[in-house]
Symmetry: D3
Subunit: 269 residues, 6 copies
Amino acid sequence: MSELRSVWLQELTWEDVADYLQEQDIILFPIGSTEQHGPAGPLGVDSYAAISVAEDTARKTQVLVAPPLWYGDSPHHLGFPGTISLTTETLVAVAKDVIRSLAKHGFKKIILLNGHKGTNLAALTTACRGLHEYELPDVFLALADPLFLAKGISHIKESVEHHAGELEISHVWYKYPSLIKAAKLPDTQVDVRTIMSDFVHNDLFGKGGDSIEVFWNSAEQRKFAPSGSFSDSSKASPEKGKIYHEYMVDNLSRFVEWLKKYDGIIGND
Amino acid sequence: MSELRSVWLQELTWEDVADYLQEQDIILFPIGSTEQHGPAGPLGVDSYAAISVAEDTARKTQVLVAPPLWYGDSPHHLGFPGTISLTTETLVAVAKDVIRSLAKHGFKKIILLNGHKGTNLAALTTACRGLHEYELPDVFLALADPLFLAKGISHIKESVEHHAGELEISHVWYKYPSLIKAAKLPDTQVDVRTIMSDFVHNDLFGKGGDSIEVFWNSAEQRKFAPSGSFSDSSKASPEKGKIYHEYMVDNLSRFVEWLKKYDGIIGND
Amino acid sequence: MSELRSVWLQELTWEDVADYLQEQDIILFPIGSTEQHGPAGPLGVDSYAAISVAEDTARKTQVLVAPPLWYGDSPHHLGFPGTISLTTETLVAVAKDVIRSLAKHGFKKIILLNGHKGTNLAALTTACRGLHEYELPDVFLALADPLFLAKGISHIKESVEHHAGELEISHVWYKYPSLIKAAKLPDTQVDVRTIMSDFVHNDLFGKGGDSIEVFWNSAEQRKFAPSGSFSDSSKASPEKGKIYHEYMVDNLSRFVEWLKKYDGIIGND
Amino acid sequence: MSELRSVWLQELTWEDVADYLQEQDIILFPIGSTEQHGPAGPLGVDSYAAISVAEDTARKTQVLVAPPLWYGDSPHHLGFPGTISLTTETLVAVAKDVIRSLAKHGFKKIILLNGHKGTNLAALTTACRGLHEYELPDVFLALADPLFLAKGISHIKESVEHHAGELEISHVWYKYPSLIKAAKLPDTQVDVRTIMSDFVHNDLFGKGGDSIEVFWNSAEQRKFAPSGSFSDSSKASPEKGKIYHEYMVDNLSRFVEWLKKYDGIIGND
Amino acid sequence: MSELRSVWLQELTWEDVADYLQEQDIILFPIGSTEQHGPAGPLGVDSYAAISVAEDTARKTQVLVAPPLWYGDSPHHLGFPGTISLTTETLVAVAKDVIRSLAKHGFKKIILLNGHKGTNLAALTTACRGLHEYELPDVFLALADPLFLAKGISHIKESVEHHAGELEISHVWYKYPSLIKAAKLPDTQVDVRTIMSDFVHNDLFGKGGDSIEVFWNSAEQRKFAPSGSFSDSSKASPEKGKIYHEYMVDNLSRFVEWLKKYDGIIGND
Amino acid sequence: MSELRSVWLQELTWEDVADYLQEQDIILFPIGSTEQHGPAGPLGVDSYAAISVAEDTARKTQVLVAPPLWYGDSPHHLGFPGTISLTTETLVAVAKDVIRSLAKHGFKKIILLNGHKGTNLAALTTACRGLHEYELPDVFLALADPLFLAKGISHIKESVEHHAGELEISHVWYKYPSLIKAAKLPDTQVDVRTIMSDFVHNDLFGKGGDSIEVFWNSAEQRKFAPSGSFSDSSKASPEKGKIYHEYMVDNLSRFVEWLKKYDGIIGND
């Protein structure tokens, strides 16, 4: 197959897409958020994460990327100006509609790439599980996310990573250097264990011991994390961002290449 | 007020937005689509229209723009690969959630900018009317669209404008020149009157005589407009696109400036 | 075909309807509203418009009419006693259920006749577009409305027509003379441009220049239009109502006759 | 209070309604159906029942009536041409929207009058119970229906009354004589006990012994009641219709008069 | 067929259920509530009623029982601590999902057993009617309830039976003796006629004269029935509970045996 | 506080609950599933897990337990007879209604105890997050699950634990010995990595390396795990079940005791 004019679906004509579908049926769908990321990170951090990993993976593996969704499930960040949150129900509906449209055209392997945004996972899981059981049994659906895609490289960080942490800030810094306010990177960390019990953990990349989930809302978050950041991101750097980014692109590319050749049970029933 | 670091909300930190809200409460929200635009236009035509007018208006008037929505209400285009359609209900839900989030932060004047995408209007109208009556009586909501914003300049086109027509192709050509396949611009037009009666009109910018709306679906469209384009866009040009674009930016900027000083009944009840 | 016992479906037995369907598959579905129409017009103005045009068109063309829907999408009129408003979502649901039922029996050409009630259009369009794409591809769905059906005759009015305007008042006056309080016809007009910017137009039948939609709610409307009427209807008359009514009946009848012979793409895919 | 110009809300102006609300806060809301009623009865039987009882009660007690809803919850009749059924969910939504609108204007005592249509009761009960608990605790909501309002007079019938039975046919015959095809009145009865067990009863007005509800659908009904009627209505007559009608009007009027003076706990909490 | 290891589905393995389905396709689904039942009855009265009748019927007839639903539609009891109410919409959804799952496995005859809980009936009826018409035409659905199943034995009670009445208290007393606080059984009765008009009846098992339904909410109920009980249950006894219970088990067993041999129209279309 | 008559809410009267609320505001809400657990485990395994941990924790800490929900989100198990699955949306609705009811009575600290059922987590998280942000900011909501509550003890198992694994089988065996068919315990394991890529892990309790979620449906599961079990549970034993159970009860009890004294930010805003 000759090189794609663009990996972004929205830049192509429908005839380009028809040509692509003659040879390949994989597409990436990046989902981010518009939510506060502390005093140093732009509101689009999660979207930039999803967009950049999707785009670089797509270039490397020559598959298409659907236009990004800039909005996620972020109610607990609504205490900070600029956060835009869909409800979980709306995010489910958007994800389902996008996947249905892609499936109708013959995209049979669809990879959702979520951008370091744990609270999106309930909606995206709901959408994929429901569609695959009840509507699209012959479509392979997968969901990738930095929190799980980059476990193996998380040791490069020097601090505890929670919201607006060292790795996700480094990531954006590497790919979109002008968007990080380096002078404002916080060097303190919120200790959620004092607020939500010992069963809640500070590090999203941690191995975790016993845990219980405790739910907090936007007003509470504004109180216990008044800067918006939960994390010490003073050790963030574009260099770390590069390592982290490339690790994820490598992982996801490996998965895409595996999927190109896949003819197992899933989606082929 | 000093110049904004960026007009795009997603590029700012929450503190930047908080600063902005000290002085201004207007924001633009661009809504496009990912739908086929014939053999020459990219799938993102409507999104590019919304994004470019929003961005240039925002720069000119120094107001903010929310991240764009790349998906619209495009079921009748689903017969062509690459089209991604939300249902009307989903689009209503997204628009409501975005507006609610913005309103919560104190954006009291929100302008939806739809990108030449008539079928989005039912959903966007539903969202705005419902919110303003039942939830957000104190928020001024407006909805702009090239079809109505550019009536006064539509005389520059030389052909009948329907889907993928001369003006919208020119628009993208001017702002994103690499995305138009000039060699593929169609020079024929679908005559919808022969298919849907004399009460249906060929020109979306036309003054219209008596009319009745007839609904068609994606399979039917694929039949009566097999190239995807309804319009002769062979007269499209970046030059026309520039005139059209600037006319819309001027109009919308005029509205924004009026709105900055507005203290009438709407949203102030 | 012998003359129908009644054009109203609800007056017939199911066997009458079965007989009709042997020869014809067209039906009209009138949708109105129950909303204030100023000090002179009854709350049912829009419903009477839909009912009378449907009934007279049906008699002229010998097609059936479904029972009318007396409720529409009128939230912005809820500030005046007697207005009954469905939400947009409910109106979509009702329209879909009625159309589905009719289609199940073999009505393959269904014409919604809305009664001069612009805000109904979002819901009715949503219902028709969604059904024709996803559920009823083989049913021809059309939507007529005085605002578009009577453009060619609107020159008979002598004043600017907005809510409760000269033409719709004349219409009811002609068909239901006892329901207009002639002594209370207002002779002033609300200038919406002063309230909602120059981009909003005063005349619903106007050709319109550049425009932007601004949304208002019931509390605001009560303030800027305290009588309920937006329009000077002092020039209304039964004579104008007759001309307007017959023009619409003629137009719609012409469409029905065209549709009787139609075997084009729409609904026949 | 002087006599009302009309008891029908839709025939009044909003000022008339405002005047009424100065003195009275009761309104009737008639709900019918459009569903087959055998070879002799028109599709609108249930609607005519609701409309006529509401109108005559309103005249007698000088209270208002909201415009009728012509559509009900009739899925099991969809096997016969002309039946139009809302889903239960849609009927709930319509009833809630109408009641909410009326309550907003100050109607504090709202009586739903259902027209001999048992399957509507689930939806109407759902709407009233939900609204009164969660949204409108200070509105008195009541639901009347011929099946319960006329128990005391049902002895005048000479046959077993089920769908399209002697009493409801008589009722329409009395009020709308031209709509009954007397020559087609069936003289046989469907014995539902042979089809659905001894725990299902033949007479809707019966006292009933032990019972279990069995659900049937439109295809099944078409089989076991091929004429559409379940009942022997050969003994129907306008005279019986008059007795039955007046009995219901008397009962409902008695309730309205009681309600005018009511200041007990319900709706006054 | 050999005796079942257990009549409760949840105690069996899927292989046990597969074996059962080789020979039988009937299942009972008990639905209760968690709502106050006065000072003497536990919150689970309705659930215990459903569970015990289902279990004993199942043992007697050797059919399966699905796990019970402990929550019902009880908004009007929310004024008393401990009541847990689903909305009607949620109860519809649960009932539909459970029935759909059972039908998928080949249970073709499903009997919902509601536990003396009239307000559940709207939801359960809505679920069954909708499913049988639109989704599961080949499944026989029935709905039983003590209020209708035990009419013929209700004469054993000595008092007027409304909420928390003599029979339902006796029932639980017989089956779960430790759960009734005998010393707290009320000996007074709420006269609903004084509160809601003569058209509302005191005895749920009564034959009823003319009636109109009046809706009350939880705050109102707390006022007119401050103990939670509407009924004099001082005559309740385990002995009466035994008679009542066995009567229902006998009736339901008779229905199950009839259904085992049923091959009529319902569910076989 | 004297010992509770019962820890189960449904066994108490409303007055008992009112008394409890004078002193304590914590309640546990157990949520399970009815889904196949291989040839040896009963369909109720997850429900029994939730019920037993909730009950024993409640007894130990003297707090109340709400009636259990026997149904969960189990679409991928619908290929095996007996599985009953709610949709994710329905489970969200049930959880929200139950929590709303409890909160209305003054339960301010509500702990959902899910029974080893990962797919329930999307719904339960959605319910809790949404309620705490938009409706119940002053209620502390927590979600516990064996998968996270018992990490620290998972080393006692000798095999890879996935669906129907050694630990959950041991758990039921310990608490409900008659419900495990010991002779049928499988001694083989499904290797999901061969089916869904190296990015999917075999052990639910594992520490996990990089991972990507792949969604499978019921038909696919029936193919790759024809016995229903994914796991070798031949090493299961009541003794292990006891250790595992007590570890969870201890952990949850520790959390409950901490919560009794909690007066931090969450739920106190």
